[in-house]
Assembly symmetry: C7
Homo-oligomer: 104 residues x 7
């Protein structure tokens, strides 16, 4: 379970939107060498913070999101909406735009 | 409950439209320093003033909006229609364009 | 009830079209000063003159327009088709493009 | 009832198409002054000559056109296909593009 | 009934496609004067040679084409695919793009 | 029945895709004169090699392709995806893009 | 059955996405001559690593992907999303974009 504090705890995405937090990029190589920032790859791994109730089919039924809070997911390189809460950066993606999740 | 006066009280959005009022931007830092206007971020937080009856599925059923008057919501950076009532500025968004709401 | 005369009385919009008459713009300030025309805001308030039978869902059922003759409505800034009848200017909007109505 | 002769009498529009004949533009003012052609407004009034069987809903049912032969209609400023029959000019519009009709 | 020979006789359009043969343009005026080719209007009249089984509604039912072999039809000015069979030029149109037919 | 060898024999198109082999262009006139390559018309005739299971209607039913292996078909001038198998060139078209077939 | 290790083993594509690994390009001719890299064709053959649960029809039913892990598939020349896992390069395609599969 993900424990949320502050504004973040009260935020509920609407429809099939998913709020995610990107994982911090590794800034050192395995051998301990600092990686200059411009060499850092795009961080496409993220953790789901919260999700909306889901999308609606054409007859009005709600289909829950395919991810839940706490899921580790793979994001597409582009897309998503940056939002700031409690002075931290989060992203909102549509459920259907998330590429996959990592099971454990 | 939100108490409305003047023209605003008589206005009913149509379909899945939502009338919102943006929250005032903080113009001072927590320490009390004035923030010059160009440094002020976009105000994406708003309060729902009133909503339409909802959208219609392909078979004609009305699906109520996912927010209600009084809800604190997070707006997308772009979009929405600026309208003026009683010399004040409001915005109309489609229900499906609102990113999320803050529960209390 | 709106009383119509001349050609206007015989005109019936088709489908979900709505014929509206824009309200005259205020050309004086509350204090009585004339407002030069270029300072006049766009007139987005209008009265519904007549409406079509409504739109059709995918299974052929007709859904009546959400406004009726006599309703005061808020128009979007762009869109609509200007038509002239009895030497007066009217506008036709699709029901779904009208932003909201004012109840009394 | 509209009496048609020649090729026109044998022509049946397909689907929800409507064959119309634009009304002649008034070339004199009410006082009898000739109006130079470039001052003549676009003729948006027309008479329905014939109509197709109608459009088809997604389940295959045919919905008849909303106008019938003889109806006086208001055309949009743009659109329509010019066709010539018996050396006269007619226009074909989709039923859904006709703005409204004049009842008598 | 249209009698077809050669390759043409074996060709069956797929879906709601219609194979048509444009009528020869009149190259003389009624008085017998030759019309120079550049003055010849576009030939929009054609005869249906063969048709596909029809289009499919969203639930999979096939709706037959609205024209049959032998029908005289009115073509839109643009569109259609030119095909050559037995050294002669034919055109393929979607059933829904044909403007109308001439009954006799 | 079409007898396939090598990789080609194991290939199954997905959905409503159709694998075709264009017929060789005639490189001599009927009288035996060689036609220079640039004068050769586009080869729009092809033989169906294999087809996918078909397209799916909105309720999930599979509708088989309208052509089968061995059919002689007429291709549109543009479109299709070139693929190479066993050092030979084939093309993949969507079933709905094939113009027609030749029955024998 | 495909045996996966590391991060790859825990990755599940969402919806109708398919994770594939492109086959290594042949870098020698059959006779053993090295092919310079710029002469190497695009590698359009790939092996399916894992698939999502499938796409959803308009009434909410899930339709499984048309390929399964281990399938040899033919990719379109363009499209797909490159992802890196365990320092190796993989691609994600929508099930509907894969051209065909090779049965054995």
């Amino acid at each position: 379970m993900v424990r949320l504090a502050g504004v973040l705890r009260t935020f509920v995405p609407l429809f099939d939107r998913v709020l995610v937090e990107r994982l911090a990029a590794e800034t050192k190589t395995k051998g301990g060498i600092m990686i200059p920032e411009k060499s850092l790859g795009k961080v496409l791994h993220a953790t789901v913070v919260s999700t909306g109730p889901g999308s609606r089919t054409s007859d009005g039924t709600v289909v829950p999101c395919s991810v839940v809070a706490g899921d580790k997911v793979l994001l597409p390189e582009y897309g998503g909406t940056k939002v700031e809460m409690d002075d931290k950066e989060y992203f909102i993606f549509r459920d259907g735009d998330i590429l996959g999740k990592f099971t454990s």
